[in-house]
């Protein structure tokens, strides 16, 4: 495609150039990034280990020190449980408040007149 491009290329053909190179660059950069994380990072961590501990180990041994059983699903379950615990402790209550008149039976303890008349 690029062979056909000359100085007088019109917009459409330049568009095709951008289409192809653009897609190629997007793909290649994300492929590089994924390769970096597949192979590069374990290698870097390995180097880091060697520098800090001076201990010779195979890449496979150190590659990624993570618990194989502790998967993302476990994390999700735990975090859901914590979220539920923190945010949903209170069940939904009816927001309508009703003020009920409590019927007071007469009590001499709160009566002023009782206090004034029946002095001890």
């Amino acid at each position: 495609m690029i062979l056909y491009v000359d100085l007088n290329m019109d917009q459409i053909s330049e568009g095709y150039v951008i289409l192809i190179t653009g897609l190629f660059i997007v793909f290649s950069s994300l492929v590089t990034l994924s390769l970096l994380f597949k192979y590069g990072i374990p290698f870097m961590l390995y180097i880091y280990k060697i520098i800090t501990k001076r201990k010779d180990k195979k890449i496979k041994d150190i590659a990624l020190e993570v618990d194989e059983d502790f998967t993302g699903e476990v994390v999700a379950a735990i975090s859901t449980a914590i979220h539920m615990y923190l945010n949903e402790q209170h069940d939904k209550e009816n927001p309508i408040l009703t003020i009920k008149q409590a019927k007071k039976s007469y009590s001499p303890w709160s009566s002023k007149i009782y206090g004034t008349q029946n002095r001890l």
């Binding site: 492929v31 961590l45 020190e65 993302g72």
Partner: protein, 441 residues
């Protein structure tokens, strides 16, 4: 009694200085005052006063929205109300649609030009706020917040899913080509194409650089200002992800494929999470330096989150900062749809192209996921549905994938897997924007 004197004193003082204040009126109104004055001399005094009052009312009426309204304004206000309705009733990205809907109404209140009211009038408050859109200031700030709230661990655990984010960018470039065929020139077509990335901030960023109505093309013409239509198209299609994507998924992915279960992603160590933003920042910006404002801020935000030492900064970036910027962005983008500038044939074409690009992007992701499955074996097979999450509408498209998978198998939880192509779609569309910018900017 003393108070009464003070009040009367103030009122009489105001009466005295009234002519002084009157001098501040524009020359226009002074002339009209004079004409009223001459009328007063000619006619009897009482009639003149009524005439003056009537003229005043008429002048006031000419300044109201009722006198200046056009069908365009009414249509746009109606669209704004629809946005708000969709946001409230169907919960389609209400955080975006409600500010934008309110902005559409604000921007389409009819007014008399020349009083520094409208968003396109230099010196108006809305124009100052719109500055952040025109100069591409808001999008990187939004990306900072997105970086500070995104967890890249599912991507680090399964790096090959990054390819799905790249595959969905086919939509960007296909639309770019389509726009060229429809007669848009190169920079405009580039800005329109990025709608296929389904990433609002990226679309605004790119259109503010390419189709801003300021740049001058080689042949001497000025590019059109397409920021408003492109932003509105990008955000409305992002909000419509739950409507657009499921039919395409059902069309392209067979029932059996939809039931594929993926093995849970491995746990990712903190060290890897810290290395990710640094390595990705260096790598992606070295490849595509034009995307630096977007990708730099994205990974900087993520570093704030993962470093473990800057929790305060990360907290601000992912809550208050992104909220403030979203409010300003939403309202000004909405208000930029002023009817006389927005309702054109180009806007309609952009909306059409946007829909097509969204469909192509989704299809690209899905088909590429199927293609990858040909090379993967047994346990490593991926569920092709997650390809649709490669369009970067975070996290809505991942949620749609999850919901769609649950429909065919109620125990297939794809959300975490779908987040990987989803965030890589953000990176991919930012890189694509950078490439287009470096070609056409």
């Amino acid at each position: 009694m003393k108070k009464l004197f003070i009040v009367f004193g103030i009122i009489s003082f105001l009466f005295i200085i009234k002519p002084v204040l009157g001098l501040n009126k524009s020359p226009d109104s002074l002339i009209s005052n004079n004409s009223i004055f001459t009328e007063q001399v000619d006619n009897s005094e009482g009639e003149g006063v009524y005439d003056g009052a009537f003229d005043g009312l008429k002048q006031f009426y000419n300044y109201t929205g009722f006198a200046n309204v056009t069908w365009g304004h009414i249509a746009m206000i109606f669209i704004g109300i629809i946005f708000i309705y969709l946001g409230i009733k169907y919960d389609y990205e209400p955080l975006l649609l409600i500010p934008i809907g309110a902005g559409v109404m604000i921007g389409n209140i009819p007014f008399v030009a020349g009083n520094q009211t409208g968003i396109y009038e230099a010196g108006s408050v809305l124009n100052y706020l719109y500055f952040g859109v025109v100069k591409g200031i808001y999008p990187p700030l939004i990306f900072l917040g997105i970086g500070a709230m995104t967890d890249f661990s599912s991507l680090i655990a399964n790096p090959k899913l990054m390819l799905l984010g790249a595959a969905a960018q086919i939509g960007v470039f296909a639309t770019f080509l389509g726009a060229l065929y429809l007669g848009f020139n190169l920079p405009e077509a580039g800005a329109i194409g990025i709608i296929g990335g389904a990433d609002g901030p990226t679309a605004i960023f790119l259109s503010s650089k390419l189709a801003n109505g300021i740049n001058i093309l080689p042949d001497g013409t000025t590019v059109k200002n397409l920021i408003g239509p492109i932003a509105i198209a990008a955000y409305s299609y992002m909000a419509l992800v739950p409507v657009i994507q499921p039919p395409i998924m059902r069309l392209l992915i067979s029932k059996e494929d939809r039931k594929i279960r993926m093995k849970p992603p491995r746990a990712v160590s903190q060290k890897e999470k810290m290395i990710f933003p640094i390595a990705a920042l260096l790598l992606t910006t070295f490849i595509s330096p034009s995307a630096l404002p977007l990708l730099g801020m994205l990974f900087f935000g993520n570093l704030l989150k993962e470093s473990g030492r800057t929790e305060r900064l990360a907290e601000t970036a992912r809550t208050k900062l992104i909220d403030i910027v979203t409010i300003l962005l939403g309202v000004t983008v909405g208000a930029s749809t002023q009817a006389d500038i927005f309702i054109t044939k180009d806007s309609l074409l952009i909306f059409g192209l946007g829909a097509v690009s969204f469909v192509i992007a989704t299809m690209g992701g899905l088909l590429f996921a199927k293609l990858m499955n040909l090379f993967l074996k047994g346990d490593n097979k991926i569920n092709p549905l997650i390809g649709a999450a490669g369009v970067s509408a975070v996290p809505d498209s991942a949620r749609v994938v999850h919901a769609e998978a649950l429909k065919s198998d109620p125990h297939n939880y794809l959300l975490m897997h779908a987040m990987a192509p989803n965030v890589s779609g953000v990176i991919g569309s930012a890189i694509a924007a950078g490439i287009i910018l470096s070609f056409l900017g």
